[in-house]
């Protein structure tokens, strides 16, 4: 049992790894398929049933509407949470008196509040609506953004800030030319985390609080014991999450989160 040799066997080992990797996936799907044949579809639907249901989520107009609704809500909530987190982090930094209010009271409270609690309270307070979904998602994402962005503000070099002030006294110019560029890596990190969390959250938020969206589709599918559709909504979320990360977040990260000078 050698402790992780530097280059274990080179290309042959890499090939074996690849074969086991892809083979494992194929085996898992085969196993799923063979077990599902012996079970009723409401317990374990086969891969093909799930694939058909998944296809419908992206092609049948009535279902596509729900997929689009969830996607738009995710994008809106992430944007709002980033803006809110940035505003709170800046307030905590610029007005020292309020620092503890935000970082030692608000943030721990939001951080330890269970998401399902927000989901239920939002329905009681705001009824079933897009607003209550957005409320739930933003309020849960806020601490993630706040923690990252206030860490980013802490990292900003005081000398650079002083230099900025010696060039201009306009705090708006300082914010846009100095703080924001220096915060960019942290903004991207906050974006990445909240984007991932938000997709997983979407189902919870829409479970009680919406009459559209993938969460709503999943709950209805569960009531009608349409387990293929339940699995398909989960897979759709995973796929949409991966697509957004590869197409939007990774390029953004490459562009902005480079080495800080």
């Amino acid at each position: 049992m050698a402790d992780k040799p530097a280059n274990p066997g080179g290309r042959r080992a890499a090939l074996i790894q690849r074969v086991i990797d892809e083979g494992g996936v194929v085996l898992a799907i085969l196993g799923w398929w063979s077990i599902s044949k012996t079970m009723p579809s409401f317990v374990l639907p086969g891969p093909s049933d799930v694939a058909v249901a998944l296809w419908k989520l992206f092609s049948e107009p009535a279902l596509v509407m729900n997929t689009v609704a969830t996607t738009l809500r995710v994008i809106a909530s992430v944007a709002l949470a980033l803006a809110g987190g940035l505003a709170l982090a800046l307030v905590a930094r610029m007005i020292p008196d309020l620092e503890w209010v935000i970082l030692r009271r608000l943030q721990p409270l939001l951080n330890s509040f269970p998401s399902i609690g927000w989901a239920i309270l939002a329905v009681i307070w705001f009824d079933v609506s897009t607003f209550s979904v957005l409320f739930v998602q933003v309020v849960i994402l806020l601490p993630f953004c706040l923690i990252n962005l206030s860490a980013g503000l802490d990292e900003i070099d005081q000398e650079v800030v002083e230099m900025g002030r010696s060039f201009t006294r306009s705090s708006w110019r300082n914010l846009t030319k100095l703080y924001l560029p220096l915060l960019m890596p942290y903004l991207v990190a906050a974006l990445r985390i909240s984007y991932g969390v938000c997709w997983k959250l979407a189902l919870v938020a829409e479970l009680f609080g919406a009459n559209s969206g993938l969460g709503y589709v999943m709950v209805r599918a569960q009531y009608t014991a349409n387990n293929a559709l339940v699995l398909a909504t989960c897979v759709a979320i995973v796929l949409l999450f991966i697509a957004g990360e590869k197409l939007i977040i990774d390029p953004l990260a490459r562009r902005f989160a480079g080495p800080r000078g």
């Binding site: 049992m1 402790d3 992780k4 530097a6 274990p8 080992a13 074996i16 790894q17 690849r18 086991i20 990797d21 494992g24 996936v25 409401f42 317990v43 374990l44 020292p96 008196d97 309020l98 620092e99 503890w100 209010v101 030692r104 009271r105 721990p108 409270l109 951080n111 330890s112 509040f113 269970p114 998401s115 399902i116 609690g117 239920i120 309270l121 009681i124 307070w125 991932g196 997709w199 997983k200 979407a202 189902l203 919870v204 479970l207 009680f208 969460g215 999943m218 569960q222 014991a225 387990n227 339940v230 699995l231 909504t233 989960c234 979320i237 995973v238 999450f241 991966i242």
Partner: protein, 263 residues
């Protein structure tokens, strides 16, 4: 001398002002809650007194205490299960080279991006409403957190230390126990600390679907009966436990571990 003392006094005054604002705002908010709750229907915003009464019920009455204890059991059971499975996955990814890509590149991302509620719904369909369903759903949520932390721990092991170990003994087990395990302790503890918070929050979700007892079940019942004060009391319990656990246990222990094993 004098300016330094002045600076100290200034810093202390600033801290006092911050504390004033922080505590003052909390008091003001609770006061506002007190003042407005008589004018708002209790199912929308119950009064703080009502919430506190329900909060106390969870330790004074048998039925409510039973639900709290059940959730405690679910949380610690799920933590134990996920810690062992997550550790096994991390060990396999480190030592069994051929399966590393399968675990790191397939199993981990799947578990990490699959929605917790999806697991909860599937768990109920597969296992019925039972402890097993709750454990399954919670473990699926927690395992990625444990795995990625321990995996980072393995990745950060210093090869020179391991070489030194090799020069002392050829027994792999001894090296693992005396060198690698202590180096992993900080990562394992960090994993536990994160998972503790996540576990308390995800247990509500898992019990909401998968159990006929526990705090999640209480929340679901109260939701249907519009007993918002009970929902708020459960949320308060979770916040108190997560916060107290983190401050009174995890933070001090982690600081000690960092001092002991820190680099």
């Amino acid at each position: 001398m004098a300016p330094a003392a002045d600076g100290d006094a200034l810093a202390r005054a600033a801290r006092r002002r911050k504390a004033w604002w922080a505590n003052g705002l909390v008091v003001a908010l609770v006061g506002a809650w007190f003042a407005t709750s008589p004018f708002i229907p209790a199912y929308i915003l119950p009064s703080p007194v009502l919430v506190l009464q329900k909060f106390v019920l969870f330790v004074t009455t048998k039925t409510y205490f039973f639900h709290l204890a059940t959730t405690l059991f679910h949380v610690f059971g799920a933590l134990a299960i996920s810690l062992s499975i997550g550790a096994m996955l991390a060990l396999a990814a480190h030592y069994l080279h051929p399966v590393r890509l399968l675990i790191r590149g397939r199993i981990y991302p799947l578990l990490n991006s699959f929605s917790g509620i999806g697991w909860a719904v599937l768990a109920v369909i597969w296992f019925g409403q039972s402890d097993g369903a709750v454990f399954f759903a919670m473990a699926c949520v927690l395992i990625p957190f444990i795995f990625i932390n321990l995996h980072e721990g393995f990745e950060s092991l210093d090869p020179e230390l391991q070489e030194m170990g090799q020069s002392f003994t050829r027994s792999g087990l001894r090296r693992f126990r005396l060198i690698i395990l202590p180096l992993l302790v900080p990562f394992g503890f960090a994993a536990l600390r994160i998972s503790f918070g996540v576990a308390w929050k995800s247990t509500l979700l898992a019990e909401l679907f998968g159990a006929n007892r526990g705090l999640g079940y209480v929340v679901n019942q109260s939701r249907q009966n519009y007993e918002t004060e009970v929902i708020l009391a459960v949320i308060l319990w979770i916040i108190v436990i997560v916060f107290a656990g983190d401050r009174l246990f995890f933070k001090p222990v982690q600081e000690r571990i960092q001092r002991h094993y820190g680099r």
